[in-house]
Structure formats: C-alpha cells, structure tokens
C-alpha cells in the first residue's frame, strides 16, 4: 500500500499527485486557496534537524511513509466503537472519520444548525464569511505541513458563533483514525463573533493501533470580547505521526484559554501561534505532555504581543518515562508597540526514568520596555522524600509514584472544564507508569 519515496521532494510530489487525481471539485470558491497552497508546497521541502525550528525533532522518517490520503470508507465506523469517546456533558458533536465528515455520527443539539457543521453544509449559508477568513490565519509559507493540509482542504469542521451568542454546552470535534497507512488532513475553523462564548473540544482519537499520519490545522478567530475555551486532546495510536498547526487571532478584549494534552503518537508536533492583535486581549495557554516508550512529542508555541495592555499566561508540563523525548519551545514575542504587556511562562518537566529526555527552551523576544515578563523552566524527578512519606503510610512504591505523577499533572488537568474528560485523563495519568 505504501510506496516508498526516497527523499523529501519525492515524498511531497507523491502526496500531491495522489490527491489531485481524485478530488472532484465542489467548492470552487476555495480552489484558489488550494492552488496557492499547492504552489507553496512545491517550493518547500520537509524540515530536517538543521532547521532551527526542528532542531530536536527528526521528522525524516516520514519520507519512508508515503501514505496516500485516506479515502472515505463506505463501511463506516460503528457508533459503539466511538461511544467511549463521547462526553456526557455535551450532545454537540461533529465526527470526522479519517478526516471525512460522518454525518450519521454527528449531532448538534444546543445550537442552531447554521452555527456548527462541516464545510459544504456551512458554505451554503456562510460562504462569504468563510472565504474571507479560512486560510487567513494559518501560515502556509515556511510551514510545509500547514501548506499540505491546505492543499488537500476539502472538508473541515466549521463553527461560527454569531454576535452575543453563548453556546453553553461544549462542542466536541471528534477526529477518529481508523485506517492504517493513510494520511488524513483534519481541519477546524472557528469564528467567535463579538461578545460570543464557546467551549471547544478538539479530540484526536483512534480505534486502530496501526501507523498512519494525521496532519491537522485549526484556525480560531476571536472578535472583540469573544471568549473561547479550546481543549485539545491528542490521543492518537502509539504508532501514529501527528503534525498539528493551530493559529489563533484575538481582537480587542477577547479571551482565549487553551489546554492541550499530548498523549499519543510515535512522533507528534504541535505548533500553536497566538496573536494578541488588539488591546486588552488575554490568553491562557496550558499544556500537558505525557509520553513513554520511544515516543517523541514536540510542542512549539508562539505568543505574539502586538498591541499594548495584553496578557498571556502559559504553563507547560511534560511527564516523560522510559526512553521517550519531550520538546517544548515557548516563544513570547513582545513587539515595540506592545507596552504594558503582562506575560508569564512556566515550563515544568518530570522525568520518570534515567533514559527519558526533555528539551525545553523559553524564547523571549522583547522589543518594548514597559513590560512584565516572567518565565521559568525546571526539570526534575519524583521527590524521594515525598515517595518515602507515602510509603510510610502504607502505599507501595508503585502507587506512591503514580500518585505523585498524577499530582504533578493535576493542576493542568483541572483546568479542563469538562468533568468526564478530566476523569478520563486522571485515569490515564494514574495508570501511565507500567514498568515501575
């Protein structure tokens, strides 16, 4: 099934060719965007470790995995395969199977149907809004994965929350991988109009333990005073490759809160770019990486303070076991105009074995003088005195270690505003460490 492509150029050509042959074009309004993305892919190559942004993450194994884009399966996944991922807190759910919209698995209860849907459905009523925003936030030049996703853009989860509208129930976007040796290109597109409010759960799951590639892009645009909570869970198969880009743009006094959790995949990479484009906007960005075995999980974030009086808080935690490798690169950019910026960043890392590895790099680029920027990074192991304290109360060494690992992750997990999801993650963390 998988043809081998020897180098980066062959690999990208292979992907482009395999796609255009099959895509019958229904969304002609977007064809320009795609054409531009294809041109961009043609000028790029896969990144390698000589690229500053990819210093710690060797993505070259991809050239050996020329997985064709997934085809929509006629035999779709059964609802009861997915029930484990449904959240009792919400009935708003869009399901995408290997990147393709599965209408029969999706439900929208809390909000009028015009607010939430997949791309073709939403184009019927909101074409002009979509065309003037889609693809405008996620950069494609200099980002080959984002360009590839855009080149293959045919469907997408679309949420447009109208002015002064509060969607109370969270919206779950469930991206399920079922096929092996394919690549899929999920995409989310969110517009929160003025004074609107939304909680979004972007959940990447799999019902196969096979190898596949997910290349995803999310674009989130907040108008003035909008509030968006964005929970992102990456629990792909342990053999998967997950490449993700998310671009967020904040207008005046808007607030973006995100918690992203990275558990799955052999190699995963999450790029998050947040632009505080107008005054008094605020973001809180939290991350948790929990990996073991030979997993590699790389989180690159960039918080761009463009205007004065904006606030950003970031806390990222990595828990790394066995020979896994976590990477965190957190860039905070404070532009000359962005006076009175208030920014904090903390990177805390817990190594559970002597062979686990973490590279953490805070990157502050501050061009304004009247700013408050605090940052710190720590790398540590479980505290032997804490373990002894718990053992002295009868807990086995293993349960003591699990409890302390859980404790390390707890504050991030508790920021997730959905109880059932919190509980699922708590269980995963408590059972993470097998070989202790």
């Amino acid at each position: 099934m998988s043809n081998k492509a020897a180098n980066s150029g062959d690999y990208l050509q292979y992907l482009l060719n395999s796609w255009s042959a099959k895509s019958a074009d229904k969304l002609s309004g977007l064809s320009q965007l795609r054409a531009r993305a294809i041109d961009s892919v043609n000028t790029q190559r896969l990144p390698n470790k000589r690229d500053e942004e990819w210093r710690f993450t060797d993505i070259s194994p991809l050239t050996q995995l020329a997985f064709p884009p997934s085809q929509q399966q006629s035999k779709v996944v059964q609802a009861n395969d997915l029930e484990q991922f449904y959240l009792p807190e919400t009935t708003n759910r869009l399901v995408f199977v290997d990147g393709h919209y599965a209408a029969e698995l999706s439900t929208i209860a809390d909000a009028p149907i015009q607010m939430i849907g997949n791309l073709p459905a939403m184009m019927r009523s909101r074409a002009s809004t979509i065309e003037s925003h889609l693809g405008h936030y996620a950069k494609i030049d200099g980002n080959v994965f984002s360009a590839l996703n855009t080149a293959f853009l045919r469907d997408c989860a679309v949420i447009i929350v109208p002015k002064k509208t509060v969607i109370v129930e969270p919206i779950q976007l469930l991206f399920v991988s079922t096929q092996e040796e394919v690549s899929s290109y999920p995409r989310c597109f969110v517009i929160a109009e003025q004074d609107s409010k939304l909680t979004l759960i972007e959940d990447h799951v799999s019902i196969t333990s096979a190898s596949y590639i997910t290349n995803t892009v999310a674009e989130i645009c907040l108008a003035a005073n909008a509030h968006v909570q964005h929970i992102r869970i990456q629990r792909d198969s342990q053999q998967a490759y997950h490449l993700a880009n998310c671009a967020v743009s904040l207008a005046h006094a808007s607030q973006y809160q995100s918690v992203s959790v990275s558990l799955g995949s052999k190699i995963s990479r999450y790029n998050l770019e947040v632009q505080l484009s107008d005054e008094n906007s605020e973001c809180t960005i939290d991350g948790l990486t929990l990996i073991a075995g030979q997993q590699l999980s790389d989180t690159h974030t960039c918080i761009d303070h463009i205007k004065p009086h904006c606030t950003s808080h970031q806390q990222h935690k990595c828990i790394v076991d066995e020979t896994a490798h976590a990477v965190f690169n957190g860039k905070i950019m404070v532009r000359p105009q962005a006076q009175q910026t208030n920014s904090s960043q903390s990177s805390r890392n817990l190594l559970l074995s002597n062979t686990a590895k973490v590279d953490t790099k805070p990157q502050l680029e501050i061009f304004a003088d009247d700013v408050k920027c605090a940052h710190g990074a720590t790398v540590g192991q479980l505290d032997s005195e804490e373990i002894f304290y718990l053992e002295s109360r009868g807990l086995s060494k293993e349960s003591a270690r699990k409890l302390l690992t859980y404790a390390f992750a707890a504050d991030i997990i508790h920021r997730i505003p959905v109880a059932s999801l919190q509980q699922q993650l708590e269980k995963i963390v408590l059972n993470q460490m097998q070989g202790v």
Partner: protein, 269 residues
C-alpha cells in the same frame, strides 16, 4: 503505662547506621513494650530523627550493624510500606508537602491500604468523609483541611495536627512522634496531647521525640532517654526530663560516670 503482661514490641540492639558513609547512629539499644511511652531527648543533631527514619525504613540510611525486631520479626527485612502495614507509624518532624494530592484522597488511600491489610472493610469516599470528620473533631481540626493539598501551605502546627490525624486514622501499634510538639501553641499542644492520649492503650506503644518537658506534662512518659552522638547515654523516668529542663545537657557529657549510675538506677525502675 508499664504492665507486667506486656509483650516486647520493639527491640533494638547495637544499632549502627550511616548516611553517605558517615556514621550517625553508633550503637543504640532500646526495648519498648506494649503499653509503654518512651521519650527521647537530646541536643540537635544527636541522631533522634535518624533513629526514627531508620525505624520507618528510609532508604538513604544504611544499617551497618545491629538488629531491630518488631513484634519478634526482623524489621530490617521489611520495605517501608510493609512496616507501616505491620503497624509502625512515624509522625514526621518535617511532614512533606504534596501539591496536587487532596488531603482527603491521601488519607483515604492510606486508611484503606492499612484496613485491607488488616482484613477490614475499606470505606468509600462518602463513608470515609464521615469517619475522618469525626476524627478531626477530636483534634479540633477544621474540615477545610480535607480539600487542600497534603500539607501544602499548612502552618507548622497544622502539619503536626495532620500527622496526628493520620495516627488516629491508622491506629498503629507503635507510633514514633518526632517533635510533634514543636511549633504547637499551648492550646494546640493540649489538643494534640489529648488526641494522642485517646489513641494510647495497653496494646500499643509510643516513642516521643521532643525537646521540651512541657509535652511530657500532658503525655506522661514511662522512660526518658537522652541521646548523644548517636547513642542513648542516659535513661531515667519522667523526672529526668525535668532535670534536663533546668540543667541542660552539659552535665551529662562532663559527668559520664554519674550518668552511667543513673542509667542503671533509672532503667526499668
């Protein structure tokens, strides 16, 4: 209380222990029987906490000589959690803070672990909540401490009360309370002493490590031991604590012979 029907709970013989190759305990002999209360006093750095941690099984200390038996079993063969499950309890001089673990979750986990070991019923969160609140009343503890992280941000005295709460929940056979009185105000000291006195009975035993005779007014010891440079250099009754309070420790070193006499006269009077 000293009781003729008592059984030997703890028997330490010629115990030597070191940390990173430095000898800290240099030949401890101590026998504790059920029903007894022993106080251990001594200057800072004399090895009191080291003895307590060696008993609890802290892996940083290496026992280089000697034996410890707990109810006739070789304690040194047991892992720390096995010692706890066998009924040994250490109230820490410096209880650690564990951010992220709710106190109630920790207390219930410890309680249920020990209960199941004893073949007794475990409690679910609701049952445990009722149970622990009752115990907290005895110690005049605010139930708010259940929802906070274990010891995190607790004041010195609050941490000590939390230790005694654990003792009350786990009902150990042998409790070693390492400076549980330090940092307690007078009212708290009385409350904690009352709590400890309620737990003490003829079937369990207590070792109190303390610097202050004050505690011993409330929890009256059967024996008072003085530690110096990793040894017990003197043993007496509760009046020895009074003497230490007025005279300090200087005279012990300068009057070894006298000390030896007291040792023979005082022990198991």
């Amino acid at each position: 209380m000293i009781d003729s029907n008592s059984i030997t709970m703890l028997s330490i013989k010629n115990l030597h222990a070191s940390i990173n190759g430095t000898g800290i305990l240099n030949g401890i002999d101590l026998t504790v029987k059920s029903g007894e209360i022993h106080a251990i006093m001594g200057l800072n750095g004399s090895g009191k906490s080291t003895l307590a941690k060696v008993l609890a099984g802290h892996s940083a200390y290496e026992v280089t000589q000697g034996t410890i038996e707990f109810e006739g079993k070789n304690l040194l063969e047991l892992a720390p959690e096995e010692r706890a499950r066998a009924g040994l309890f250490l109230g820490f001089q410096y209880p650690v803070e564990i951010p992220g673990v709710a106190n109630t979750q920790f207390l219930r986990l410890a309680y249920n672990t020990i209960q199941s070991q004893r073949g007794k019923e475990e409690l679910d969160p609701l049952e445990f909540d009722d149970f622990v609140r009752e115990k907290m009343k005895l110690l005049d503890m605010n139930p708010d401490f259940l929802d906070r992280s274990v010891n995190e941000g607790f004041s010195g005295g609050e941490k000590k009360r939390n230790e005694i709460l654990q003792m009350a929940l786990l009902e150990p056979k042998l409790s070693i309370l390492d400076e549980t009185d330090s940092g307690l105000d007078i009212d708290a000291l009385k409350i904690v002493a009352k709590g400890v006195n309620q737990i003490i009975n003829k079937d369990n035993a207590t070792i109190l490590v303390t610097h202050y005779q004050r505690l011993l007014d409330y929890i009256v010891p059967d024996f008072v031991h003085v530690m110096q440079a990793g040894r017990i250099v003197m043993t007496g009754g509760k009046e020895l604590a009074m003497e230490l309070e007025t005279r300090g420790y200087d005279w012990i070193g300068s009057d070894q012979r006298n000390a030896k006499n007291r040792l023979t006269a005082g022990a198991h009077a």
